[in-house]
Symmetry: C2
Subunit: 186 residues, 2 copies
DNA sequence: AAAACAATATACCAGTCGGTATATTACTTG
DNA sequence: CAAGTAATATACCGACTGGTATATTGTTTT
């Protein structure tokens, strides 16, 4: 593995463990065994490093999620596909999604927050789009698609974050989706 | 207002805006117009300052939430009381709860995260207790109280965080609770 | 072969970090 | 009135911050 990839991996782990602001560039470089100018050569700045972490890891995932979340006429089936696609992504790269999702409730005015929100918004839009498309054909959501999107993501993200790489994740997800559709009284 | 309270208020605003790690002690003291030894005289350390912020603001709130969330034989009524109690607390001190809730998905190994988790756990326990007590008398939760607690808090916290001081917050909360009980298909 | 370039290191920059030693003032307690 | 204490400021500490000027090496392009 080349220094560029080593830096991306070490920075991801450290950012997730201690937070973006809690990690120094020197610390990242020490973990890899290179000097600071090497990091600046590849990424330009600390913020550029964070953005590269998200870009290199998420670009394909977002395309995949877009494909899986396209409404196919069956809302339950579509939301299931999106949910398991999200689950698969987090299983493949749990640390990345743990870092990304940690920014959901922050909304700080830090530069790192703004970078993360950029990618979080894409996931939000993909989900919202599914609810909107579904409404166009079923028309029973009473303009609550936005709230449904927030609730859905809040529950699913919380679950995925808590069950990182568990084996039985899928079983719990079926329960979660059932609960989302029919409530806890069933 | 005395310097101690000024420091607590300034630190709360700055921590929420930029994150604990993103704010220096000097910055907080400048905002108040005192010197660093004054801050250290009252709080001992930066972490002590954060803990004081939570302790002074949350101690009474937690007692209030405990009272409101005590199961009274009617689960729907109990969960409503807890929900509106949470809503009232966040309305009274939106910045504090915005800061506190921002730690939910983080679970970093930072010292500030550990302090925040201490208080978040109390809210979690209050909520879980309501679900458990409710089960003892209704017995229809199939050991899913823990998951219900997480889902409930995820949805409600997300909502409260997003609607900070909105006037029509209560109306949306009724919808949210209905959705939690009966799902989105109703 | 010469010039350009990519990748790297050493050594440095001013600024800030959390925290403290010391001194001063004012108030309280004996 | 004397001693202690609470509250504050100035000035400092070593360590670290993000970032860079400069130099060196090896490869690629002309």
């Amino acid at each position: 593995m080349e220094n560029k990839e080593k830096l991306l991996n070490a920075a991801l782990s450290l950012f997730d463990e201690k937070g973006y602001q809690g990690v120094g560039i020197q610390e990242i470089c020490n973990a890899v065994g290179v000097s600071k100018p090497t990091m600046y050569h590849y990424f330009g700045s600390k913020l550029g490093l964070l953005d590269s972490i998200f870009k290199t890891n998420l670009t394909e995932d977002i395309k995949y999620l877009e494909r899986e979340a396209s409404y196919n006429g069956d809302f339950v089936n579509s939301i299931q596909k999106l949910t398991f696609a999200l689950s698969e992504c987090t299983s493949k790269n749990p640390v990345l999604y743990h870092l990304l999702f940690s920014y959901i409730l922050s909304s700080k005015k830090n530069e790192d927050s703004e970078v993360a929100q950029k990618y979080l918004n894409k996931i939000y839009e993909i989900t919202l789009n599914l609810f909107i498309k579904s409404k166009e054909q079923n028309g029973n959501m009473n303009n609550r698609e936005s709230q449904f999107t927030y609730s859905y993501l809040a529950v699913v993200v919380d679950y995925l974050n808590r069950h990182g790489m568990d084996e039985n994740k899928e079983q719990g997800l079926y329960g979660l989706l059932h609960q989302f559709q029919f409530g806890i009284n069933s």
